[in-house]
Symmetry: C2
Subunit: 696 residues, 2 copies
């Protein structure tokens, strides 16, 4: 996969109008922050030449079609300098207007404080939480390679319509965050030659000089990761040397065997006479006087705000014509490719819309009742089966593949040419994320942002904490990625409290927009995967056991199809009208089933509800929900090997919750369940208490 | 602060008995894993020479007093190879018996799957979640320097009884995790010359060869961080070259200007004939045949298990005598120091017991009612005031000091000699963690583990997600560290949804053993800090507003002292007997107060409960809790600018919850509260609904 420069000329054309456009971006950034009274002007000013250079002279894009599949991608990892991006979107003609810039950081505007994907055209990813953007970019670069493998693997390097470049700007803050280390080490290992990152080396962070906390040799660190590194020195006046930067960016794009990191020394808030090179300019409006002084330096009228001259705008907007031309050329190439590859063209069209192949769900296995199987194992079988029919489904694990059962194809690892492993294939199916849960989450976001493939990633549930910021961003961006979180309770046994999730199911359910699914048996796993993959507008986590659990006899009990509705009646009360409802998730549903036997034997008509997904259940209409948990039946018990948090909402005042309110311990799982009172007996006792409380 | 070698001889004494002791550790590791049937034998076998070398020949320790303040610290970052540590604790005479090793990973044993601090004598920190250990070690090294500054700042390098070395073993997994990058970059910046880390470079991770995911040049990366780096090659037979390793460890200890990283090439599971150098040996028992074969190679009886010869044990246990001698020498030095520094000796004794100075709480300011002040600002004033009287209180921020109001002393930054900043002081008070929330959390754990100082660290509440794994470990280890989490709701305004916590208060309350405190006004902040610091057995997070909130008139309303009980009646119903109880936290308590005015005007006796800490409230006796929220009053409304999760437990079936169930937006905070319906009007409406539901 190539990322050869699209522009054949190596000489930069850089006119006075270009210079003026850059200064216009600086002025707009100052004015927009000043108008709203808060924001981050400094970096938007100093980086304006770099951003303009990329957007006007390097980025392959068509501002009239921000979703063009052939486009380069641009990621602004330091999202706080959103004006860096908004000014270029405005100058390039993405539909953002001067009024939009004037309403920066205000209610309903298209220019929120941090760039939000799906909210503003041309914003490829939501950034702000530092380090996420560069990791997203790594994911995009991985996706570009995988997609090329799906659609055009035989093409010579640089010859495919699926070849393009991922550009990223990163800041000190991004590089201090551990997630950037994880993702950058992975990018080096993966030899992502289609990735070019520009490091804004401005020596300033919020607490002042980076000497407060950050003195490492960044380029040496990136060399250690296997990146191609370059340094660009500033002009004597402190501004960016545009010619030198252009040469470096071109060199980065031309290097297709490794990712590139370019360190660009900048002066924050340049050329503001007093604010430049200060931490204050990072996060505060400059003030009217300083802005006026800066405008004078730049040759702008200090009395005017949001001053954009027509010739500057017209000049910058020429990028639309260039973009359309590039697009037209690409359209011809893709048409030729489609003609030559009709089947792949169909797949491309389908994947682009995130439509799964017709009949895909028929491949999902059904599991025989009456046996015992860990739900992680069932999940592995579902993935293997889906692997045969859904080529856009790929993923892996953060070095726990064998434990997570996430290997979709053992013979095909996503690893670059030259990797010594036998399974290595640049277009391989199984991703080895390494022991990097956070980067896994964030590169998965990048993969979903880049195109229509469906990616999953596995680790132990307890380590969902390591990737939580990325999970939150997936939910915020509504990205259809799937987390395979196994070893989902004290049921993992001997590894002990550091590895046993207690609060995690509840804490994940807390994230708005994330589906948390904890199937009770193998057949619920099958329906859960089917349901998860049928959604294209949200992330989901599937919580799976290490230990075996019974595969319920579905002839005796209700179908696992109810999984798709989040909660369903697994076993009805003998009378048909329950006196008590027992509600369980995952491995604890079997305890509810055992408790039901005891209670029924005592003459208490008992219903068991399996509730694999509270989110899916809450999305059902009231009639269904009240059918499953009748309002009139106040005696209710929930059982889950985790904290009680959240269950009161479902069981009500008279309900009882069988839960675990403390950390686990190292022992075999049967001992742990018994010692910690997560047992059928505990459910029976709770049921009796709830019946009393309900006055039933 | 020096970490000069304590052993003057540079020549290693290494007898056949030492060799035999190492092989005994290997055999015990194999046998213990085999007996329980699961665990991680491979690394415990290959690392045995390194661990034995450190524990017997380098570590300054007294096995008869694991809490000796003058001891070196040893951190095993890859906690899964816990047998590496347990075998040395056994051989060194820490009280761990052969029976303890035989009950490895079983219920109630002193040898759980991963080492647990506070559970097994000699375990300095709980490890298992990868990357945490090395970050803990960095924190310990920081604490050693800060404590030296408190107690013995004038001593020449290496001459103080407070000088010692922090030793750490790290694995591939530790180095892949981003937290290790954050902590290691910080350690380099801080020039922590008292830290020596040994990297077990075995080229194997769970998914197989590290070529799956990890090919960076680790030592080059550490050079980039400013570390001293060394490499130790193996013997031709694949075993560790003990002489060369000893020289390297000594060189690391002698290097006092920088932390040291030693890459040690090892062969996992050496010398097992078939299992060595395989991923399987990492996480699975070797099996009886392989163990027998290995025992033969090592000259042990393949028929025996847990074979320890008396002479080997006696030889290893000589470390007790050496430890006692070192301890006695230290006792003399510390006695001399005490005599020369009676005041400091008193402080040392006090801090060692985590006792705060007499009358410390009197320094905490009271705030005038009727004004408005952001709670973060009040917190800053409390910290500044406490700074004057509590020298062991120190901390900082992950590069948000000005926003978090966490600077306890602006003139004194914890930064090494040679740092160009004016405030730099190796013993400085204010920690600049950098944009590294995760490392902040984990180094705070290391600081609390090392000694009795009280550390706090700040960031935005939303970024508590970045440090969550470290927070969980603080709770698991019961460490008294304090998180200052400001910008605690949509009240932060323009930065938008990436920065606005929605689910975080609930998700943090989910962590067992963590106190979450969200004060309503400046005086609640004061009591909250006092209460938090009075606890020495748990971490706490204090959630603070960016925006101003009213400082309540305590003459009119009840005292903020109620904060210490978690929840209290702030404003009583006019009748004394409420018809409805409104419960709020933080900035939303003012909404409850406003709603109370409306409801009272309508003739509804309304009580307002401020509930800064659900954990503290739940710790009160039932009588108090029912006094605050009478069971008979079923009409209840909670209001918090976050998700509802958890509040049903408090408001009950008839209660109503004013909450926010979706992500925020970028706008000024007043607009956000109004648009999202977190208003006094919404509380009034909810109150009317709850009154109806309660049939009141």
């Amino acid at each position: 996969m190539s990322t050869k420069p699209t522009n054949d000329s190596v000489t930069l054309e850089w006119t006075d109008l270009d210079k003026r456009a850059v200064d216009t971006a600086r002025v707009l950034a100052m004015d927009a922050v000043q108008k709203v009274g808060n924001g981050h002007p400094g970096t938007a000013m100093s980086l304006a030449p770099a951003a303009y250079l990329i957007w006007q002279k390097l980025l392959k894009h068509d501002p009239t079609d921000p979703d063009w599949a052939g486009r380069d991608r641009f990621v602004l990892s330091p999202g706080h300098t959103s004006m860096t991006l908004y000014t270029q979107l405005y100058l390039s003609g993405y539909g953002l207007t001067l009024d939009d810039l004037k309403s920066f950081r205000t209610w309903g505007s298209r220019t929120p404080g941090h760039p939000e994907h799906g909210h503003t055209a041309g914003v490829e990813t939501t950034t702000g939480p530092l380090g996420q953007g560069i990791a997203n970019a790594v994911g995009m670069a991985m996706a570009a390679r995988y997609e090329r493998g799906l659609f055009d693997p035989e093409a010579a390097e640089g010859a495919s319509p699926f070849d393009h470049t991922i550009w990223a700007i990163v800041s000190d803050g991004d590089l201090e965050e551990g997630i950037s280390s994880e993702a950058s080490s992975l990018a080096g290992h993966q030899k992502l030659g289609n990735l070019v990152a520009l490091y804004d080396d401005n020596h300033i962070s919020i607490e002042g000089d980076t000497e407060t906390a950050f003195s490492e040799d960044v380029l040496k660190r990136y060399e250690a990761y296997g990146w191609h590194t370059l340094r660009v020195e500033p002009l004597p006046n402190g501004d960016i040397d545009v010619e030198a930067l252009y040469a470096a960016l071109r060199a980065g794009q031309a290097e297709t065997g490794r990712p590139t990191m370019i360190a660009l020394r900048t002066t924050i808030a340049w050329p503001a006479p007093n604010a430049q090179n200060t931490a204050k300019s990072h996060g505060s409006a400059l003030g009217a006087d300083e802005i006026a002084a800066t405008k004078k330096i730049l040759g702008f009228d200090p009395e005017l705000t949001f001053e954009v001259s027509d010739d500057v705008l017209a000049h910058a907007r020429l990028v639309v014509d260039r973009g359309r031309a590039a697009r037209a050329a690409w359209d011809e190439r893709i048409a030729a490719w489609k003609k030559a590859n009709p089947d792949r063209a169909e797949t491309f069209a389908r994947v682009s819309k995130r439509q799964l192949p017709t009949g895909w769900e028929k491949a999902i296995p059904a599991f025989e009742g009456g046996k015992a199987m860990a739900t992680r194992k069932a999940s592995g079988k579902v993935l293997e089966a889906l692997g045969e029919v859904v080529p856009e489904l790929w993923g892996g694990s953060a070095d726990l593949a064998e434990s997570n059962n996430t290997t979709i194809d053992e013979s095909s690892s996503f690893l670059p040419a030259g990797n010594p492993l036998k399974s290595a294939d640049p277009y391989g199916r199984t991703i080895h994320f390494g022991i990097r849960e956070h980067a896994m989450g964030s590169t998965m976001n990048g993969i979903a942002l880049h195109g229509g493939t469906r990616v999953y990633g596995g680790t132990f549930l307890v380590f969902s904490d390591y990737m939580r910021p990325a999970v939150r961003l997936a939910a915020l961006m509504k990205l259809p990625v799937t987390y395979v979180w196994t070893h989902d309770s004290i049921g993992l046994g001997e590894d002990g409290p550091t590895h046993q999730p207690i609060e995690h199911a509840a804490a994940l359910r807390a994230i708005p927009g994330l589906d948390v699914v904890r199937p009770a048996d193998a057949n619920e796993v099958a329906v859960a995967w089917r349901t998860i993959l049928s959604h294209t507008d949200r992330p989901a986590g599937i919580l799976l056991t290490r230990q075996d659990v019974p595969t319920f006899e579905r002839d005796e009990h209700n179908s696992a199809e109810g999984t798709a509705r989040g909660g369903y009646i697994l076993a009805e009360a003998s009378s048909g009208l329950p006196q008590i409802v027992l509600i369980g998730t995952g491995s604890e549903v079997q305890l509810a089933m055992q408790a039901r036997e005891t209670l029924e034997a005592e003459g208490i008509p008992t219903r068991v509800v399996s509730m694999p997904s509270v989110e899916w259940f809450n999305a059902q209409d009231q009639a269904y929900r009240e059918h499953v948990i009748p309002p009139a039946v106040k005696a209710r018990v929930s059982v889950e090997a985790g904290i009680a948090l959240g269950w009161r909402e479902i069981v009500g005042d008279a309900g009882k919750i069988v839960s675990l309110e403390h950390f686990g311990a190292s022992a075999d799982f049967k001992t742990l369940f018994a010692e910690f009172g997560i047992t059928a007996e505990a459910v029976v006792t709770a049921a009796r208490e709830s019946l009393r409380a309900a006055g039933a």
